[in-house]
């Protein structure tokens, strides 16, 4: 706790220069990766970054063997070269053989990483003591970031933001409709390559900080989380960048405080937490919102079914008036308790009155019930007249659609049926099929 407090105060006051440098670097990194990730996720290329990151390890080792120093520039150049080679290898295998992209990615990923590990064991035998940090590329060491690294990250982030802004419309078309992009005269292959180029640069710059196993998390999780919040590409990209930046900041802050927690892992878990929150709580696509919506719809449908059942039982009786609950029950495969609770709900909403085992529609309830029965029968009539479906087969279809048919379509249906002379003057047409007084098994009348 004490540690957390002192960290918080350090962060808030920006008093510790080193922490600020690392924090700035991680934020920029998260932002850039989130932005690029938006496009790769939508383009269905998320795991290419995984192959790329693993392929970078032999590049790092070879660059180290050649230069003998841990200077970040040459190491990243080596990583970039091998990363690009890895991507080209995946594309080449997919084009020139029957092996599918997923197998190609897995194969390139594991073979190149194996090569990297083998080279690493060579590196470790060299007398040069500077090799001590190379393993950092596997799991990442955000804490070792210095001002020059952050300058590099800032430069790359700037390039990525500018490129995405310039090619925003092209990328948009590429992500959503490749064929259209092609027919609109865009160079699809070239755009794909540009996107993969951005992924390469992003991945390579992120390698020393988060490590090669988890780079793909930075490119994927923020974008997938942002997808929950918006259906618009621009908004999604901005949210993804925001979530990336936030994960970078929080993750670095936590791991800087606890020596043993690797930054890459913490950043990934923070992003994953952000994703879980998004998945649950997003207003339209979130799991909770969807569950509430579905529940509301189910309740609405159940209520409407009860109203229609009561109405139809009344219709069979000569007189409008209270009907027996057991007659209503026979209209549909209700369990007694279920029907009871539905009736109670309808009573609360003032659409039904109940006396012991007899129920009746109130005037509001009758209005509502007529509307539903009307929708149901209009649709049945339409199916019989225009879709040539036998009258004893239309009930089921109408049963599902009666709850969701919008008013406009209802008006059109009405106009259409009136033209055909199928619509009587009365508000509720007669059913085209026999409405059975009682049937079990859920398939009513």
């Amino acid at each position: 706790m004490l540690g957390a407090k002192s960290l918080l105060s350090r962060l808030l006051t920006f008093s510790d220069f080193n922490t600020n440098v690392v924090l700035l670097g991680s934020v920029l990194l998260g932002m850039a990766c989130g932005l690029v990730g938006t496009f790769t996720v939508l383009r269905g290329r998320s795991l290419m970054a995984d192959a790329l990151a693993h392929a970078a390890l032999p590049g790092v080792c070879i660059a180290f063997l050649l230069t003998g120093s841990r200077e970040l520039g040459p190491l990243l150049a080596g990583a970039l070269a091998f990363g690009v080679l890895g991507v080209l290898a995946v594309m080449g295998i997919r084009r020139s053989s029957r092996v599918k992209e997923d197998a190609a990615i897995a194969l390139v990923l594991s073979s190149t990483f194996g090569l990297g590990v083998a080279l690493l064991s060579v590196v470790q035998r060299t007398p040069n003591a500077a090799h001590a940090g190379l393993e950092g590329f596997i799991f990442g060491k955000a804490a070792s970031m210095v001002v020059r690294d952050v300058q590099l990250i800032a430069a790359v982030a700037a390039i990525i933001v500018v490129t995405c802004a310039i090619f925003y419309r092209q990328f948009k078309v590429l992500c959503f409709d490749r064929d259209f992009a092609h027919s609109a005269g865009l160079r699809v292959a070239l755009l794909d390559f540009l996107l993969m180029g951005l992924v390469c640069v992003c991945t390579v710059v992120a390698l020393p900080a988060v490590g090669l196993v988890l780079v793909v998390a930075l490119l994927t999780i923020p974008a997938v989380a942002a997808r929950c919040w918006s259906d618009r590409l621009g908004v999604m990209a901005i949210i993804a960048a925001g979530i990336g930046a936030m994960s970078g900041a929080v993750g670095t802050a936590i791991s800087a405080n606890a020596a043993k927690l690797s930054a890459g892992a913490v950043i990934t878990l923070v992003a994953a937490a952000a994703f879980v929150v998004s998945l649950l709580a997003a207003p339209r696509r979130g799991v909770i919102a969807r569950w509430i919506r579905e529940r509301r719809l189910r309740r609405k449908i159940a209520l409407q079914n009860v109203l229609r059942a009561v109405y139809e039982v009344q219709e069979l009786q000569a007189t409008r008036g209270p009907v027996a609950v057991c007659d209503v029950m026979l209209k549909r495969a209700w369990r007694p308790a279920e029907l009871d609770s539905l009736l109670a709900r309808a009573q609360r909403s003032g659409e039904i009155v109940r006396e012991d085992d007899r129920v009746d529609l109130t005037s509001a309830g009758r209005e509502h019930a007529m509307q539903i029965v009307r929708t149901h029968r209009l649709w049945e009539l339409y199916l019989v007249t225009h879709a040539s479906i036998a009258s004893d087969h239309v009930d089921r279809d109408a049963d599902t659609i009666e709850h969701v048919l919008p008013a406009e379509i209802l008006q059109q249906l009405e106009a259409r049926l009136r033209e055909d002379g199928r619509l009587p003057g009365s508000l509720v047409p007669a059913s085209p099929h026999a409405v059975a007084p009682a049937s079990r098994a859920g398939v009513h009348g």
């Binding site: 996720v41 269905g44 290329r45 998320s46 795991l47 995984d50 295998i93 020139s96 053989s97 029957r98 092996v99 599918k100 997923d102 197998a103 190609a104 990615i105 897995a106 194969l107 390139v108 990923l109 594991s110 073979s111 190149t112 990483f113 194996g114 090569l115 990297g116 590990v117 083998a118 080279l119 690493l120 064991s121 060579v122 035998r125 393993e135 596997i138 799991f139 196993v213 988890l214 793909v216 998390a217 490119l219 994927t220 999780i221 974008a223 997938v224 997808r227 929950c228 043993k260 927690l261 690797s262 890459g264 892992a265 913490v266 990934t268 878990l269 994953a272 994703f275 998945l279 696509r285």
Partner: protein
């Protein structure tokens, strides 16, 4: 042989081979269902399973860890498909989310547990192949490394399951929808197969590390799929290739003193590349040879067709320059060599000319060409000016039988430009 490898190195080699056999065979399902990356995801996600089982049980008991890893492996598969359905994201992105999160959790759990036990993230990645021989058990009267015994046991279980459920697995691998409509539960078989793969991964994991597991799960089956189209042979070949890569990689690693897991992965990749280049049915080399043979044949036939026109038809538009152009370049020179050695051509002043057999061969080509022109002109109503170019391409692919049918169909003696269509084998024997 012990001058070659020490006895503990032989055990390492045997363990690597056994892992190749187990994972190579198990991975066929992943490659066929295009779920290779699930193998990658499962091996990464096993980490928190191992660490969690250790933290819960407090021991490094193999069974607890196997169970923990198996559970998490299955969770990854189920979680990925659930997430891509509920979160409405592409399944690869869902996989990226699930396995990176689990792996990150595993890294953190392990670094918490690391004080008490020799589990570190590095060894999870590259395994402990070098040291398998330090932990021995007695089995069937032979003292062997524990890792080898585990792998052998897992292989035995897997082969039993494969034999029992071969038909079902085959069906689901190729047509899950058909399997469902035939009354098999495709979902159950799928998760059974995934459990088998997770089991193979877990059994191999400790000895060889996650990276080699991915490599062995995907590399040998992908290589085998380049060599055969039959499932039985593919599984068999994948097992063999797994064993060979294990052996080759281990020997190379020992000789070069590099990391064994790393080198074996490289060997898997190298064997794939060899198959990609050399596969008899679909290798790059084979298809290059096929294309070259076709290019050569087309060039030979073009040379003969042009020479025939020049020699036999007085008012042709073909000139000596056209012939020289056809004879130039590597393909031209090679084609000319072949024609000379087949006695279709002979040298003369002012360039090669067709021999008697050459003329007969050329007539066959010209006949195909002009029949096709006639056909295009009559049946497809192409203008006369447009029938030459397509026929120039088509003439190389019209068999004698097709030519006979075409001749019966168009029943012309002259092509649309009024040039005679040579009759079948006219003047020959």
């Amino acid at each position: 042989m012990n001058v070659f490898l020490t006895s503990s190195e032989w055990w390492t080699l045997a363990t690597a081979c056994m892992c190749g056999l187990l994972c190579g065979v198990a991975g066929c399902y992943l490659v066929l269902r295009r779920m290779s990356l699930l193998g990658d995801a499962i091996t990464h996600a096993i980490l928190p399973g191992l660490a969690g089982a250790f933290l819960l049980s407090g021991t490094r008991d193999t069974w607890a860890m196997l169970l923990g890893a198996l559970v998490v492996g299955l969770l990854t598969a189920a979680g990925t498909s659930w997430l891509s359905r509920v979160g409405r994201v592409p399944s690869d992105a869902a996989m990226g989310v699930v396995f990176t999160s689990l792996f990150a959790a595993g890294v953190l759990l392990i670094s918490r547990a690391a004080d008490k036990v020799d589990l570190d993230p590095g060894c999870v990645l590259y395994g402990l192949l070098e040291f398998v021989d330090t932990d021995r058990v007695r089995l069937l009267g032979i003292e062997m490394p524990r890792a080898f015994a585990t792998l052998a046991g897992a292989s035995a279980i897997m082969f039993t399951l494969l034999t029992l459920f071969w038909k079902e697995l085959k069906l689901v691998s190729f047509d899950a929808a058909l399997a469902t409509s035939m009354g098999f539960s495709a979902g159950l078989i799928h998760y059974g197969a995934i459990a088998m793969i997770a089991g193979a991964a877990v059994a191999s994991f400790e000895a060889v590390g996650s990276i080699l597991v991915v490599s062995m799960l995907i590399g040998p089956p992908a290589t085998a799929s380049l060599l055969t189209q039959r499932l039985g042979r593919m599984v068999f070949l994948a097992g063999i290739i797994g064993i060979v890569s294990g052996a080759v990689g281990t020997i190379a690693a020992v000789k070069l003193s590099t990391s064994i897991a790393g080198t074996v992965s490289v060997a898997v990749g190298a064997i794939f590349v060899v198959a990609l280049v050399c596969s008899p049915s679909q290798g790059l080399l084979a298809s290059w040879l096929r294309r070259s043979a076709l290019t050569l044949r087309v060039r030979r036939e073009d040379i003969m067709g042009s020479l025939y026109r020049l020699q036999q038809e007085p008012n042709t538009r073909v000139t000596r320059d056209d012939i020289s152009a056809l004879l130039r370049g590597p393909w031209g020179i090679l084609a000319q060599q072949q024609l000379l050695s087949r006695k279709h051509l002979q040298r003369a002043n002012g360039g090669p000319v067709l021999t008697q057999t050459g003329l007969i061969e050329a007539e066959r080509i010209l006949r195909a060409h002009r029949l096709w022109e006639s056909y295009l002109w009559r049946d497809l109503a192409l203008p006369v000016s447009h029938v030459h170019d397509p026929s120039e391409r088509m003439e190389h692919f019209i068999t004698d039988e097709m030519a006979r049918d075409l001749a019966a169909h168009v029943s012309d003696t002259h092509d649309p430009q009024g040039r005679p269509i040579p009759r079948r084998n006219s003047g020959a024997e």
